[in-house]
């Protein structure tokens, strides 16, 4: 009996092993067929490693012969796949990593052949583009850890974006704009919390209402007031780039990590702080307990409702920072529906990151990378219609949601109102 049991268990493992192996072999062949056959022999791909106007030490660009590199990447993928089929590699993370790395790099080699492609610039823009996604994801993490679903992040960010630019333009002070965005985010989230905790309104309905209201209200205000008086209301300027002395001089890494504006730094700081709070402090322990088993927390004297209010409101404030990023953190003006679904992508990042801050940030970086890749490729005039490229981040969201969501485990009480 024991034997047949292990047989069945190992057969599931075997299936997953074989499918990963086949995926890698197919990816290797695809690299060869798609990119290898259409790359000119002798073409060189140049990866730029310096940013214009950066303080970092100048390093020579990386020049790679495209065709041999593509062949090499194809070979790595096929070889890894074959090894996986024959022996099996334990770590799923490594397999996914190798698969993505070989395919994306080969794609870049092919796309940028005989041209120059600024790698540092792209990494830097990935980090920047990941920032609003990460802030939305952190908002999701902090509220869903207490089991309150908030899919109204998109709407909160949109309203905060507008509040930030108006407050900053009127007062002439960007920090006032940031604070206005945080406060507004907190208020809207407090409203959501009040509806779903006090009146047990369905959490999805309440947050969809926030999204619809956010879109409508900001568009109305924008077209009614801001367009006519653009200079008085909608021209704030942006947070300056702060280069961290010393660290920003490191080649490649310097400009990517240490030449950013306040909001990007603030996001990284929030990720670290939230991780520590969640796993090493009483507040975090209570937060997680309330999300997993509110009744247990209640019987030990933890105030379930209060914990939920506090976390949802804090989440709203973080989403507020995310909103501020769109206006005073990047372009200095408000455009209608400028968040463009980043709040929803943030929720995907939260799920992909398994409801923990560091995971959520890492997956935000992947989405940021897809987003910035798409922009670069349009500039490079890759022979793929730009409509398809624009879809890239959203397709990635869908693949991740369908492929990974089954495995991610949400807080056990997620989305359920608490009745004493």
């Amino acid at each position: 009996m024991t034997n047949s049991n292990t047989d069945i268990r190992s057969s599931a493992e075997k299936r997953s092993r074989v499918s990963f192996g086949i995926a890698l072999v197919v990816a290797g062949l695809a690299i060869y067929l798609l990119f290898g056959t259409s790359t000119q022999p002798g073409a060189m791909t140049t990866f730029g490693l310096n940013l214009l106007g950066s303080q970092a030490a100048v390093v020579p660009d990386l020049v790679v012969p495209a065709l041999p590199a593509i062949y090499l990447l194809a070979a790595i993928s096929v070889f890894t796949g074959a090894y996986q089929l024959a022996r099996g590699i334990r770590s799923t993370g490594w397999l996914v990593g190798i698969l993505t790395f070989t395919f994306v790099t080969a794609f870049l080699m092919w796309g940028a052949q005989d041209k120059s492609f600024n790698l540092t610039g792209m990494l830097q823009s990935s980090l920047v583009r990941a920032t609003p996604i990460a802030l939305a994801a952190l908002c999701g993490v902090i509220s869903e850890r207490t089991a309150v679903i908030n899919i109204g992040i998109e709407g909160i960010m949109l309203m905060s974006a507008q509040a930030a630019v108006v407050a900053a333009t009127v007062t002439g002070n960007l920090y006032v704009g940031l604070i206005a965005a945080i406060l507004l985010g907190g208020w809207v989230a407090a409203f959501h919390a009040f509806l779903v905790i006090r009146f047990k309104v369905d959490q999805t309905v309440s947050s969809v209402a926030i999204n619809i209201f956010g879109t409508g209200a900001t568009s109305f205000i924008s077209s009614r007031f801001m367009q006519a008086a653009g200079d008085k209301l909608n021209n704030s300027g942006t947070f300056p780039i702060i280069a961290i002395p010393g660290l920003s001089k490191i080649p490649v890494l310097g400009p990517v990590l240490f030449e950013n504006n306040l909001i990007v730094y603030l996001t990284i700081l929030l990720v670290v702080v939230m991780h520590i709070l969640l796993y090493y402090t009483p507040w975090g322990l209570r937060t997680r307990a309330v999300g997993e088993h509110p009744k247990a927390a209640d019987t030990l004297g933890v105030n379930v409702y209060l914990t939920r209010y506090v976390n949802v409101i804090l989440g709203g404030m973080i989403a507020g920072i995310g909103g501020a990023y769109f206006t005073i953190g990047s372009v200095g003006r408000f455009d209608e529906i400028m968040t463009a679904g980043k709040g929803f992508i943030g929720l995907a990042a939260m799920i992909f990151g398994n409801w923990n801050p560091i995971g959520a940030y890492t997956s935000s970086l992947i989405f940021g990378f897809a987003d910035s890749l798409q922009v670069k490729l349009q500039i490079l005039r890759v022979p793929i219609p730009s409509e398809f490229l624009l879809m890239a981040p959203y397709i990635l969201t869908m693949i991740i949601l369908t492929g990974v969501v089954g495995r991610a485990i949400p807080p056990a009480a997620d989305g359920q109102p608490y009745e004493k």
Partner: protein, 509 residues
């Protein structure tokens, strides 16, 4: 001897229900007070009031002679009251340490959780009371018996000296129950006082110093265990004489109705919870499936009734395979199913009784004609069944959700028995029912057996298994440990099997 705790005239009303009606109880220092009563007698409400989860409408609480006001669990904990809940209040994805410290977390450096300090304290408590547990283990990896220890440690960590144990034996094997009784003994020796809530008569007689019986929200009386017997207690609990033994004639088994061979089933989370089970059920006999909850019984029943796909093996009903067919097809072949969770799977609570009475035959004549339902046959069918099965209800038009547990179960039994059946699968058929309803359901099951149907009873109550079964199969971790003749089995032997030990092995060791 002083009373460490006294409740006087506690009254609690819920909309339409008087849950506690002027209840007074007293707990003597260093003693065990058993609070006996059926489900719905008001025991849990009373304890939730004491623990601050509900506010009483009237009444006073005295601790060591001083009147106290308990506004919430924090006040109760502050007064030295600790509660071990029937459904454990533990977060499965957290460690023992984290669960114990939750709510009163010690910190180091001003902000950070001091897990080491708590672990050390847990070790001390473990040693002092013989509650062995690994502080670093995750709750979800621990067996129920150990989880209960964690609950007790949680209470002791908050230095409670009045412990409320709410139905503590409901989820334990007989051996674990004995372990719990030893722990209770140690606790009493170190000066704790205990309120022991239960509806099991034998346990009360075994451990209690005082017994208070509740019925329908009032105190029926208090009695000393020396003066009480199971029968007197049952009568107090139910309010009339009940027979505690199921009367049945010896079985006359004939050919096999159900034949299961080498069955493997996965649960929703893809765990293989049934692993190579083989057995048969014969016409005119009751096969009882014993085992601690969560050892694959639920999935076994789901597989037999077509609610879960099987991974491997065969299921044959009257020599025809049924493992790749639909639940409806299985029902039509003559299988009746009394599901484990009657409120979620047995009834549609928001439907009236008359619709619940024809849930598995609604598409057939006379209930349906073409695409339309026929109200008259539906109503008369329900009227008849309500009368025949003695369902206590104002009429057949009220929602099933308004009935008591016992009457809900009668509706299910009436529906399932109203069509010709070859095999009856009854899963936890009397869970949460009062003694009177249990008696009734048991009689009905035996009646079906005597009419020649095969019966499979799954229950985690050993007494129920012993009362009903002709043969007993014991499940442990998805396997059948043994199938034994009910006449030749003992509670001890079954208990060991339920814990995964073959009695022969244990005697050798």
């Amino acid at each position: 001897m002083t009373n460490v705790l006294e409740l006087q005239g506690i009254t609690k009303r819920f909309p339409g229900v008087l849950a506690n009606d002027r209840i007074s109880i007293a707990l003597r220092e260093g003693k065990i007070l058993a609070l006996l009563g059926e489900n719905g007698a008001g025991k849990s409400t009373l304890m939730n009031i004491l623990y601050g989860l509900y506010k009483p409408d009237e009444g006073k609480i005295f601790i060591r002679g001083r009147e106290v006001n308990i506004e919430g669990p924090n006040d109760a904990i502050g007064q030295g009251i600790g509660m071990v809940h029937q459904h454990f209040m533990l977060v499965p994805v957290m460690t023992v340490t984290e669960n114990v410290m939750l709510g009163i977390e010690p910190v180091k450096n001003g902000v950070f959780l001091d897990r080491e300090k708590v672990s050390r304290r847990i070790k001390e408590i473990s040693d002092q009371y013989g509650l062995e547990v690994d502080p670093q283990a995750y709750i979800k990896d621990l067996p129920v018996g150990i989880q209960q220890r964690v609950e007790i440690i949680k209470v002791l960590y908050r230095s409670a000296d009045i412990l409320i144990l709410d139905e503590p034996t409901a989820v334990l094997t007989p051996q674990e129950v004995e372990g719990l009784f030893k722990i209770i003994e140690t606790l009493i020796k170190s000066g704790k006082s205990i309120i022991f809530i239960t509806h099991k008569l034998k346990e009360v007689l075994a451990v209690a110093d005082d017994i208070t019986v509740l019925r329908l929200g009032t105190v029926v009386g208090s009695i000393k265990p020396e003066e009480a017997t199971s029968e007197t207690l049952a009568t107090m609990m139910v309010g009339r004489d009940v027979s505690l033994v199921v009367e049945k004639s010896p079985a006359k088994p004939a050919g096999a109705v159900l034949e299961v061979k080498d069955l493997y089933v996965r649960d929703d989370r893809q765990h293989m919870t049934v692993q190579g089970v083989s057995f048969n059920v014969k016409k005119g006999e009751v096969l009882g499936v014993a085992g601690v909850q969560g050892n694959g019984q639920t999935e076994l029943v789901y597989a037999l009734t077509g609610l879960l796909p099987i991974e491997k093996g065969t299921i044959q009903l009257l020599d025809e395979p049924i493992h790749h067919t639909t639940p409806r097809n299985i029902l039509e072949r003559g299988v009746a199913h009394i599901p484990e969770d009657r409120q979620r799977h047995g009834l549609i609570l928001s439907f009236p009784i008359h619709d619940n009475m024809m849930l598995c035959t609604y598409y057939k004549k006379p209930f349906a004609k073409g695409i339309s339902l026929q109200p008259q046959p539906i109503f008369s069918n329900a009227e008849e069944l309500v009368k025949q099965y003695d369902v206590r209800t104002p009429n057949i038009y009220v929602n099933a959700g308004t009935l008591s547990g016992g009457n809900q179960q009668k509706v299910i039994v009436a529906r399932e028995f109203s069509r010709p059946i070859e095999l009856l699968i009854a899963s936890q058929p009397t869970r949460g029912l009062d003694v009177g309803s249990i008696e009734y359901i048991h009689k009905q099951i035996i009646k079906k057996r005597d009419e020649g149907a095969g019966v499979l009873v799954v229950s985690s109550e050993l007494d129920e298994i012993l009362a009903l079964s002709d043969r007993i199969a014991v499940m442990y971790k998805g396997r059948i440990m043994a199938i034994i003749d009910a006449n030749k089995s003992s509670k001890e032997q079954l208990g060991l099997l339920m814990a995964g030990v073959h009695p022969a092995e244990s005697s050798q060791n």
